[in-house]
C-alpha cells in the first residue's frame, strides 16, 4: 500500500512539484498545520509579511519580475479578507497568483465560527477560479489545477480554501505530470488567413500604429524580442500602455512614449489620426481610450489578445486575432518576410508623410516642464534617478498617483519585467511590498519603489519585512505632502477646494527609516539631489529616500477623460490658451 500523507504534507508536495521556491504569507489558527510542516521542506522559503495585503502584493511583484506564479499563504477570516485587495489587483492586471487560505474545520463551516468567513464567496469575483476543499483526496488535484488555471491563458489569481481538519487528514499522493491543455480550452484560435489579412492591411496603411500592452510582457521575454523585430521590419511607430512599458525600448526612435490619459502628445494624436491600429495585448481601457465615441474615428482596428472576452468589449474592432501574443507575432513576422521580404524599404514611401506628422507632434515636447534651481521638481527627480540608474539592470515599482505617471513618462525602460505598477485597480500601497517580492526574485539587482508619501504609508509596515530578510530595496518618495493626483483634480475641477487631500502630521521619514533599522536619506534642493541618489544606490541596506518636491506641480500632459485623444491639455507653457472650461471640466 502506498504511503499516506496529511493534507499539510500534500500542500508542500504539490508546491515542490510545481517548483515553488518562495511563499509569501502570515500564519494564523486555521493554517497552523501547514506552517508546522514548513520545517520539513528546505527547497521552499517562507517570507513573513507584516500584513496579508503586503504578502499578496509581494507575491505580485515576485510574479511580475520573474514570470513565475506568486504563492500566498494566509489564515481564515481576516487573513483572507486582508488579501482580497491584492487578489483584485492581480485580477485586474493579469498576474498569476496562487493563494492558499486556511478555513475553519469542515463541521464548523456555516456556524459563524471564530475567524470564519465565506472566503470562496468573497473572492469569487476577484479570482479566475477558487475552490473549497471538502475532501483530502481532492486536495492534490485541486492545487495542481489551481497552478494551471493561474498560469494559462490570460494569467490571474486563484484561491484554494483548505479547512483545518482537511490539513490533518491523510490521503495518497501520486507524483504530478504536467498536462498541456486546460479543459480543452486552447488559447490560439487564429489561422494563417487572419495573419494574411493583417499583412494586407499593413501594406495598405498610410498612417499605421502599433499599440501594445501588458499582454506582450505576460507572453514571456521572447514576445518582447519578437515585438522588437516586428517593429524594425515594418518601420511603423509604436506606443505602449502603462503595463506594456519595457516590452519595447523606451529610448528607441520608433517609440512614441506611453499613450492614454497622461500619455505623450505624439502618441495620443497618432492614435487619434491613424488609419490602422494594431493592438497587441492591450484591452482598450477607459484611461486609454478617452471618449469612446470619438476614439480613433478613421482607423481600421486589429486586436491581438489571448482573452476572447477582451475583443469588442469596449471598442469594436475590424480584425480580431485571439491567441498568445508571442505565437501571433512569430507567425506575423514569418508571413511578412515570406510575402514582402523588402517590406521596410518598399513601404517607406507609403508612411513617410505619417512620420513627418509625428515629428511635428513630437516637437511640441509634451513631457517638458519648467525646472527650478530652488525646489526639486518631481519630474526632474525621476529624470536624475533614471540617469543615475540606467546603466544598472534596475527594477522599478510604484505606488499610485502623480509619481506613478511621472515615473511612466520619464523613466525609460528597455527590458520587460522591469516595471511593476498597479494599473487596473490603482492600488495605493502596492509599490513597497511589490519591491520586496521583486528583490526576493532578484537579490543582486537594484530595486526602487518610486513612491508618494501618502501611498507608501498605506503599507509602510512591510519595511520590517525588507529589514528582516536583508532586502536592500530603495523607497524613493516624492514627498509633496499632498495626495498629489487628488489635489491636481481638485485644482482643475473643484475650484481648488483641497478637501482632505493634504496630510498633516506626516512622519519624519528619515527617523522612521532609522526606527525600522534601515537608512533614511533626505534631499531638499536640486543641487544635492545627485549625490543623495548616489548615496542611496551605494548603501547595501533598505533605504527610505525622502525627496522633498514642489508641492503644487501638476502632471501633464493630460486628456481630460470624456475628451478624445486630440484634445489634450499640455503643461504650464501652454495652459493660458487651453484652459479646461465648461463641459470639459465635467468630464475629467
Amino acid at each position: 500500500m502506498s504511503k499516506l500523507y496529511t493534507g499539510a504534507e500534500i500542500v508542500f508536495k504539490c508546491m515542490e512539484d510545481q517548483k515553488v521556491e518562495f511563499i509569501f504569507g502570515y500564519p494564523g489558527g486555521a493554517v497552523l498545520p501547514i506552517y508546522d510542516e514548513l520545517k520539513n521542506h528546505d527547497s521552499i522559503k517562507h517570507i513573513l509579511a507584516r500584513h496579508e495585503q503586503g504578502a499578496g502584493h509581494s507575491a505580485e511583484g515576485y510574479a511580475r519580475s520573474c514570470g513565475k506564479p506568486g504563492v500566498v499563504l494566509v489564515t481564515s477570516g481576516p487573513g483572507a479578507t486582508n488579501v482580497v485587495t491584492a487578489l483584485t489587483d492581480a485580477y485586474m492586471d493579469s498576474i498569476p497568483l496562487v493563494c492558499i487560505s486556511g478555513q475553519v474545520p469542515t463541521h464548523l463551516i456555516g456556524t459563524d465560527a471564530f475567524q470564519e468567513c465565506d472566503t470562496t464567496g468573497i473572492t469569487r469575483p476577484c479570482t479566475k477560479h477558487n475552490w473549497l476543499v471538502k475532501d483530502v483526496k481532492d486536495l492534490a488535484k485541486i492545487i495542481h489545477k489551481a497552478f494551471e488555471v493561474a498560469t494559462t491563458g490570460r494569467p490571474g489569481p486563484v484561491l484554494v480554501d483548505i479547512p483545518k481538519d482537511i490539513q490533518f487528514q491523510k490521503a495518497k499522493y501520486s507524483n504530478f505530470k504536467k498536462q498541456k491543455k486546460l479543459n480543452g480550452k486552447s488559447n490560439n484560435r487564429f489561422s494563417q488567413k487572419d495573419i494574411d489579412k493583417l499583412v494586407e492591411m499593413m501594406g495598405k496603411a498610410k498612417q499605421p500604429i502599433f499599440y501594445t500592452g501588458g499582454g506582450v510582457i505576460n507572453s514571456g521575454p521572447k514576445a518582447s524580442e519578437q515585438l522588437r523585430e516586428l517593429i524594425s521590419i515594418t518601420g511603423f511607430p509604436i506606443t505602449s500602455t502603462l503595463q506594456g512599458l519595457g516590452s519595447f525600448p523606451g529610448d528607441d526612435n520608433q517609440f512614441l512614449g506611453m499613450l492614454g490619459m497622461h500619455g505623450t502628445y505624439e502618441a495620443n494624436n497618432a492614435m487619434h489620426d491613424c488609419d490602422l491600429m494594431i493592438n497587441i495585448g492591450a484591452r482598450f481601457d477607459d484611461r486609454i481610450t478617452g471618449k469612446i465615441d470619438e476614439f480613433s474615428p478613421k482607423s481600421k482596428k486589429v486586436h491581438i489578445d489571448i482573452d476572447p472576452s477582451s475583443i469588442n468589449k469596449n471598442v469594436k474592432v475590424d480584425l480580431p486575432i485571439v491567441g498568445d501574443v508571442s505565437e501571433v507575432i512569430s507567425l506575423l513576422i514569418k508571413t511578412v518576410k515570406k510575402h514582402k521580404p523588402n517590406f521596410l524599404k518598399s513601404n517607406k514611401e507609403n508612411i513617410s508623410k505619417w512620420w513627418e506628422q509625428i515629428g511635428k507632434w513630437r516637437s511640441v515636447n509634451s513631457l517638458n516642464f519648467i525646472n527650478s534651481d530652488k525646489t526639486i521638481k518631481p519630474q526632474f527627480a525621476i529624470q536624475r534617478l533614471y540617469e543615475l540608474t540606467k546603466n544598472k539592470d534596475t527594477f522599478i515599482t510604484t505606488e499610485v498617483g502623480q509619481h506613478q505617471m511621472w515615473a511612466a513618462q520619464h523613466y525609460k525602460f528597455d527590458k520587460p519585467n522591469r516595471w511593476m505598477t498597479s494599473g487596473g485597480l490603482g492600488t495605493m500601497g502596492y509599490g513597497l511590498p511589490a519591491a520586496v517580492g521583486v528583490q526576493i526574485a532578484h537579490p543582486d539587482k537594484l530595486v526602487v519603489d518610486i513612491a508618494g508619501e501618502a501611498s507608501v504609508l498605506m503599507t509602510m509596515q512591510e519595511m520590517s519585512t525588507a529589514v528582516q530578510y536583508n532586502l536592500p530595496i530603495k523607497i524613493f518618495i516624492l514627498n509633496n505632502e499632498y495626495m498629489g493626483m487628488v489635489r491636481q483634480w481638485q485644482e482643475l475641477l473643484h475650484e481648488k477646494n483641497y478637501s482632505e487631500s493634504y496630510t498633516a502630521a506626516l512622519p519624519d521619514f528619515v527617523k522612521l527609516a532609522e526606527a525600522y533599522g534601515c537608512v533614511g536619506i533626505r534631499a531638499k534642493t536640486p543641487d544635492e539631489l545627485d549625490s543623495k541618489i548616489q548615496e542611496m544606490i551605494d548603501v547595501k541596506k533598505p533605504v527610505i529616500f525622502d525627496c522633498l518636491v514642489d508641492k503644487e506641480e501638476n502632471c501633464f500632459p493630460m486628456i481630460p477623460s470624456g475628451k478624445p485623444h486630440n484634445q489634450m491639455l499640455l503643461g504650464p507653457n501652454d495652459q493660458k490658451e487651453n484652459k479646461i472650461t465648461g463641459k470639459g471640466k465635467t468630464l475629467v
Partner: protein
C-alpha cells in the same frame, strides 16, 4: 444641465437591446450557480428568468437556461465571459424569435370557485396543454406549458375565474430537428 464632476467619461451611444436565451452546460459542483449568477450581477447584466437542473448525472453536467436582455455587445460579452468560467463546458445563445428553437415555460395555477367558473378557466387554458393535477369541490390546480407572454395573458384572463396562486418556472429551450448544439 448640472455639472457632473466624474472621473469617468459619459456613456456613449448604446445599441438596441434584444431578448436572448443563453444556455450554459456546467459541471454540477458546489457554487457553480453562484459563479454564473454572480457574473451577471457583478457585470450589470440582467436575468429575466433562470432554469437549472442536472441533465447528465453520469458526467455530472447541469444545464442552465437564462433569459436575458441586452445590446448585441452585451450579449456577446455574456457569452465570452461565461465561456471563461472554469466549470463551464459550452455556451449557446438563441434569439427569442428564432424559429429553429423551441422555448417552453411551465406554470401551476390554483383556482378557487364553483364548477362553472372552473370549467370556464379550463377553456381559457385549452391551447396550452392544461393538466388537472389536483381537484376538490372548491378548487383545482392546473398545469400549463406555454411561452412567457402567453402565460402572462392566461394569468390576466383567469383573474375573474378565481385564480388565487401562480407558480412559474423559467424558460427552457431546445433546438428543433435532429441537430444538437455542440
Amino acid at each position: 444641465m448640472a455639472k457632473s464632476k466624474s472621473a469617468y467619461s459619459d456613456p456613449g451611444k448604446q445599441g438596441k437591446p434584444d431578448t436572448h436565451i443563453i444556455v450554459v452546460w456546467v459541471d454540477n459542483e458546489a457554487g457553480v450557480l453562484a459563479r454564473v449568477v454572480g457574473l451577471f450581477s457583478g457585470r450589470g447584466y440582467n436575468i429575466e428568468s433562470l432554469a437549472v437542473a442536472e441533465v447528465d448525472p453520469k458526467r455530472g453536467i447541469s444545464r442552465i437556461t437564462i433569459v436575458t436582455t441586452g445590446t448585441p455587445q452585451v450579449i456577446e460579452q455574456i457569452k465570452l465571459q461565461l465561456g471563461k468560467l472554469v466549470p463551464v463546458h459550452k455556451v449557446a445563445d438563441f434569439m427569442r424569435g428564432d424559429k429553429k428553437i423551441i422555448f417552453k415555460e411551465m406554470a401551476l395555477l390554483k383556482l378557487v370557485g364553483n364548477t362553472s367558473k372552473r370549467n370556464k378557466a379550463l377553456k381559457v387554458c385549452k391551447k396550452f396543454n392544461p393538466v388537472v393535477l389536483d381537484k376538490t369541490q372548491k378548487s383545482v390546480v392546473l398545469q400549463i406549458t406555454a411561452l412567457r407572454r402567453e402565460i402572462d395573458t392566461v394569468m390576466g384572463d383567469l383573474k375573474k375565474f378565481g385564480l388565487v396562486s401562480v407558480s412559474r418556472t423559467g424558460a427552457v429551450a431546445m433546438t428543433r430537428g435532429s441537430e444538437i448544439f455542440k
